[in-house]
Amino acid sequence: MTTLSRFCAAAAMLAALASPASAQSAARTFDFTRDAVGREPAQFLPMVGTWVVTKDEGRNVLLVDGRVWKKGQPAGGLADKARAIYGAEHEEFLDNVKQFAYFPIAVNKDVANFEDGDLSVKFKMIGGTLDRCAGILFNVKPNGDWLTVRFNGTEDNVTLWKFVNGKRSMVLRGRKSVPLELGTWNDLRVTIKGAHITAYLNGDQMLEYDWTDAISGKVGLWSKTDSMSEFDAFSVIPAKR
């Protein structure tokens, strides 16, 4: 399957998952204790990348395995090839062709729509040469647009990214440099109030930002390229109304 067709298929899957915007879910924490090791998680829909349940110190956790993902990468030298064909406009071509495939995502099946409240997950970086990322995916729209707050262990920071119309771009980079040890569990949390986004790492505020519209959509987990990260206890706590 080509990258573009994967993008289209994923967008169609998101559309199929879309539910009425008013269906704000109840508080829930998703773990993987009931999932079969070596299989995809039952409560998440891996749309890009390889997401499998694995054992970590006797406990079932979710692993995004960038080693496997690399086999589906775009052709080598894509940037230069695109530049040769499209000149100054090659960036747009490049974005549309490869950006989607660069970011493994797993969308939660059970949260119909998330607006105000808290999203959090425990993550552990265990590998990745080019990237060591773990992120919370939110504001996922039927057309494939999304937002993510992620930690990247190659940069030691928390950043808010947007993915709109097939193009990813950074919204805001947290100013704090936080080196984390591989093989340790950490907490990433996002708090949403209307359009206001606040992100925390291990309880410390990393960034806050006002998005263009009130946040609403599906939620899930996010990664990048060859990252190998484990996830556990994905928690969704809608604000009380």
């Binding site: 960038g66 080693r67 690399k70 990468q73 775009p74 052709a75 080598g76 030298g77 894509l78 940037a79 230069d80 090839k81 660069y102 265990i126 590998g127 990745g128 040469t129 080019l130 990237d131 190659t154 080196p179 040890e181 591989l182 093989g183 340790t184 390229t225 060859d226 190998m228």
Partner: protein, 242 residues
């Protein structure tokens, strides 16, 4: 050519660019890229085969095949002859030499730090790095990229820039084995734990990791992803390195 005596140590064909093959072999062995240097003489080639057998280097393994495929002459195409030639000359690297794998170890004494003496290639790479640029695979080919990496790893500030540019270029654009070696060297330099376990020192004739290793549980998983042999293989090769 860089004037530093250890320049050739990291070269895939170090032995062919030096007048003293024995010293080149020793230096190359200390840098985990022993093949071509040791293969310069029949005796050395036999020693290399013995080391590979003793340390169970599996040349059919995925890490080995991935490196070999990446550096295959068939995939070594480029558009900028001048830049490529400058890099190859600066590194003293001849891409016609046989494939030699990155074996995933560096011995502390062979890994310099600080600022290397300026040369045409080094100055060029410094200027590129300052502009957040780096020679791409399409522009200089895999051999040209390898040459740039060889030059960069001998200058601590340039090595950091090279590492970030290689990471940003994305999968397929650089060898993850080379990125892994650069990152471990950088981490050891600043007192952080290694993540791929590529930096060693000799203690009573045995190679031990320089500094600590983060998350030892998954180190071979990370090495697999970086096209490096298992840690036990690299540690064995580092120990027998002459």
């Amino acid at each position: 050519m860089l004037s530093l005596s250890w320049m050739a140590a990291a070269s895939r064909n170090a032995g062919r660019s030096l007048r003293a093959p024995a010293r080149a072999a020793a230096l190359a062995a200390a840098c985990g890229v022993a093949g071509a240097a040791l293969a310069a003489s029949p005796g050395a080639a036999a020693a290399q085969r013995a080391d590979y057998a003793k340390c169970k280097v599996d040349t059919t393994a995925e890490w080995y095949r991935s490196q070999k495929e990446f550096y295959s002459p068939a995939s070594d195409t480029w558009t900028d002859d001048t830049l490529r030639a400058t890099l190859l000359k600066g590194a003293g690297f001849d891409p016609k030499t046989a494939f030699v794998p990155e074996l995933g170890y560096r011995l502390e004494a062979a890994v310099p730090s600080g600022k290397a003496e300026d040369t045409t290639a080094l100055g060029l790479l410094r200027r590129m790095s300052q502009r957040r640029q780096w020679p791409s695979r399409a522009t200089v080919g895999t051999a040209g990229m390898h040459a740039a990496w060889m030059i960069a790893q001998h200058d601590s500030s340039l090595a950091i820039g090279a590492m970030h540019r290689m990471m940003e270029a994305g999968p397929g654009e650089s060898s993850p084995a080379e990125v892994a070696v650069l990152e471990d060297a950088r981490r050891v330099q600043v007192g952080r734990g290694q993540i791929h376990g590529t930096q060693f020192r000799k203690l009573d004739g045995k190679a031990v990791l320089a500094g600590r290793l983060e998350d030892s549980t998954h180190v071979d998983m990370r090495r697999d992803g970086a096209w490096l042999p298992p840690l036990s293989v690299s540690a064995c090769l580092a120990t027998v390195a002459r």
